[in-house]
């Protein structure tokens, strides 16, 4: 189902539940004004959301309920019990529609508000308890009186009061009425008394158009389209007809019961006349109701009964007809209940409970890792239980992995949930900055963990702001450059392995690299020598430095002191990274790489200075072994040469122990890591294994310790400290 529609169903259900509760409370305490406001708001919101998903019938039905409530509010009178009942009926209908939407995945095309409309119309045409006629509905009576013949055939009365400005909107109210289905009669009246001909403003619409139509209110609403908000509709005669039907059915049931009663006193072999007459009456009753096949069955049964002189066949046939439909009805409602149960496949669970489940799953993973450790120990000791343990551990691991996938899946949501707000945002920014730009969304169905999806909003807003503000040029500049006057910003999301990539691409001016360098120099962000040695790619990365902003003017939209460094910080907090690519004159692409899930972090363990550390796998480019003489000093620091590129090297043990040793002659494993465009080498004593861990933020004494991202418990019970390489780069 469409995400918007799914959300609509979930929210509407909540509102309906709330409204039902409030209505019931209001029934008990009719003067509770707070309850009343709650009810009113719930109906109003429901109607609004129905409008958003273009569910015309639901909108119409709720509109009727809202009308009734609005009248009560404007007259400061308690809502009549009958109106509360009708509002509840209206909500029942809404629930049915929501079920239909959920099971079909679309708005039911045959949804018809006529019944609800008629319900409210009937209530409003009946004098209310006080005896005063409901105000505002005189026009229906008046219209029906003047067009009696049409009223007899009409299903809908319409009063259409176009707004005075409608002619300026190129609206032609009469043409709209003429185009409605089944127009039977029309009346025109002035909205306010007519001016004299010389004072008449012909372009201000002063018409009220009343019409009687053969079409149902729902069809009329559909045909009216957007103008329906200027219309009042009343369903006619259907209500009367329905109650007539009901009373006929009632009479028929009574007649059938009477025949049964008559036959029950018949003894076999006697009184053929009674059987014949009962058969004829019952058959006629059913024929009148249009149940001809049942009528035939009874006629046949009567013939059999008379021929065999046995009352039983006829008794059964009539009883079948009398109770048949009633017996079938609960069956039908049972199936619809089952259907409803199937349809309600979503339950809303509080995020806390999900998080608890996530936490427990995390503990389970850690505990399973511990079991793995125990299995290895058992194997080393040659224990006879080792094989059994190993098998059990294998199946447990599989289950834990499956659980982990399910739990991750529970927290997954499509990016469209947040992407949806961006088109409007870009529109507003583009209007404000007078830089015409369109936002194109791609791959909004891409899914990611809820925490990721929700947290990525802010960085994305900032990137989009930058794109509009700094990326897209003025229309004149664009035209001069041979580009389309309206800029295009593409927000694209896709999945790449365990990562979710979100790219913001604009077709603007691109980033002026020399200017970036100049600004960085002007603000003393980078040493002049370093600047000169920088490639364009590296220079582009300078925009992520704190304190960097090339905006020459502080605008309302961007340049509020939150730079791209904030974006990078926010993204790396999520375990992701941000890169930027730009071609002068062609545009800029900001690429945000995010982990799919925040539940599990993949790390590689390394040993340095006798202690085990974890390095997030995201950051690791490759691992290699430096041979003797591979490390050489550069000033006070060290470096290695990898594929003709000099890469600064740090020795993990030294950094953590804060002592410098001569590493020149050392050989050993080196981890090449990339962080925010910087590549660095980290020399360690030993490279360990790859682990899935649950990263826990540091607290207590270690909280705020630079260089550490968090900790995790290892299988053997020891604590693994996970490094935050970003701190090392700084």
């Amino acid at each position: 189902m469409d995400e918007l529609l799914a959300q609509f169903v979930i929210e509407s259900r909540e509102l309906v539940d709330k409204a039902v509760d409030d209505l019931l409370a209001l029934e008990k305490a009719p003067n509770d004004s707070k309850r009343f406001e709650d009810v009113f708001r719930a109906f109003h919101t429901l109607k609004g959301s129905a409008g958003i998903v273009e569910f015309a019938a639901m909108q119409k039905a709720l509109h009727c309920a809202e009308d009734v409530l609005a009248v009560a509010r404007s007259e400061s009178t308690p809502v009549a019990a009958v109106d509360i009942g009708n509002c509840l009926t209206c909500l029942d209908q809404v629930i049915e529609w929501l079920d239909a939407v959920e099971s079909a995945g679309a708005i039911p095309p045959d949804a018809d508000a006529a019944e609800i409309v008629a319900l409210f119309a009937r209530a409003s045409s009946e004098p209310i308890a006080a005896g005063a006629p409901r105000s505002g509905d005189d026009w229906v009576a008046e219209l029906s009186r003047t067009h009696a013949a049409a009223a007899a055939r009409a299903h809908t009365a319409l009063r259409y009061t176009p707004d005075p400005e409608s002619f300026f909107r190129h609206e032609d109210p009469l043409a709209r009425i003429a185009a409605l289905p089944g127009v039977l009669a029309i009346d025109l009246a002035p909205r306010v008394p007519w001016a004299t001909l010389d004072e008449l403003d012909p372009f201000s619409c002063n018409l009220t158009i009343m019409a009687l139509l053969a079409a149902s209110p729902a069809d009329v609403v559909t045909a009216l389209g957007g103008e329906s908000r200027y219309c009042e509709l009343r369903a006619l005669s259907q209500g009367a007809r329905r109650s007539e039907d009901e009373s006929v059915a009632q009479k028929a049931a009574e007649l059938l019961e009477a025949q049964l009663h008559l036959l029950e006193s018949v003894e076999d072999g006697h009184q053929h006349g009674r059987m014949a007459s009962a058969g004829v009456v019952a058959a006629n009753v059913l024929r009148h109701l249009g149940r001809t096949s049942e009528a035939e069955t009874i006629a046949t049964a009567a013939a059999v009964a008379i021929a065999e002189s046995r009352v039983q066949p006829l008794l059964e046939a009539i009883a079948g007809a009398a109770h048949g439909p009633a017996a079938e009805a609960p069956l039908e409602s049972e199936t619809s209940m089952a259907h409803r149960r199937d349809a309600r496949q979503t339950i809303r669970v509080s995020a806390e409970r999900i998080d608890a489940l996530v936490r427990l799953t995390g503990e389970l993973i850690v505990s399973n890792n511990g079991l793995g450790h125990a299995v290895r120990l058992a194997e080393q000791e040659g224990s006879s239980l080792a094989v059994t343990l190993k098998n059990q551990h294998a199946s447990l691991s599989r289950l834990v992995a499956e659980l982990q996938r399910s739990v991750v899946g529970m927290r997954v949501m499509p990016l469209s949930a947040v992407f949806r707000r961006f088109p409007r945002l870009v529109r507003e920014m583009s209007a404000e900055l007078k830089k015409p730009a369109n936002l194109v969304l791609e791959g909004e169905d891409t899914e990611a963990d809820k925490a990721i999806v929700e947290t990525v909003v802010e960085p994305l807003v900032h990137i989009l702001r930058n794109a509009v503000d700094h990326g897209i040029e003025d229309a004149a500049v664009r035209s001069a450059a041979g580009k389309h006057a309206v800029g295009t910003i593409t927000l694209r999301a896709f999945r790449e392995g365990e990562h979710v990539i979100v790219e913001v691409t604009d077709d603007g001016a691109g980033i002026d690299v020399p200017k970036v360098k100049q600004v960085a120099k002007g603000r003393n962000l980078v040493a002049a020598d370093d600047l000169a040695a920088m490639t364009d790619e590296q220079a582009l990365d300078l925009v992520f430095l704190p304190g960097f902003s090339t905006a020459s003017a502080v605008t309302e939209v961007s340049g509020r002191g939150v730079g791209m460094d904030a974006v990078r910080t926010a993204v790396s907090r999520l375990g992701g990274r941000v890169d930027i690519r730009s071609t002068a004159g062609k545009g800029t692409t900001v690429r945000v790489t995010l982990p799919f899930s925040v539940l599990v972090t993949q790390v590689m363990t390394v040993e340095a200075g006798g202690q085990l550390f974890g390095i997030p796998l995201d950051a690791i480019v490759e691992t290699l072994r430096v041979e003797k003489g591979g490390i050489f000093p550069v000033g006070a620091a060290h470096a290695i040469v990898l594929r003709n590129r000099t890469i600064p090297l740090i020795r993990l043990a030294d950094v953590l122990a804060r002592r410098a040793t001569d590493v020149g002659d050392d050989v050993g494993p080196v981890v090449i890591a990339q962080l925010g465009g910087e590549v660095g080498a980290i020399q360690v004593d030993k490279i360990g294994e790859r682990l899935d861990i649950i990263l826990k933020p540091l607290d207590g004494l270690l909280a705020g310790m630079p260089g550490l991202a968090g900790s995790s418990l290892l299988g053997d019970g020891s604590v693994l400290l996970v490094l935050d390489l970003g701190e090392f780069v700084r």
Binding site: A178, D187, L188, A195, D198, L200, P202, C205, L207
Partner: protein
Amino acid sequence: MTVQVNSEGAIELSGRCGADDAEALQRHLLAMPGVTVVWSRCEHLHGAVVQVLLVAAPPLSGTPKNAFLKTHIAPILNKKRTT
């Protein structure tokens, strides 16, 4: 032209009379009070034009062929004239 004064001095509405015709019609009706409006060749009347006809209530001549005008609008305009 959809609003014209014909050779007999009557105002003739023809074809589809849009909102813009309302002002012209109003001008003609103010200039010639009591003048007959011929609308047999009229195919559609915009609400703005109908407003002018309702207020001025000129004698109408002819019957438009358009079913909507003939069935629904003509009785209203004729009723207005007689009252």
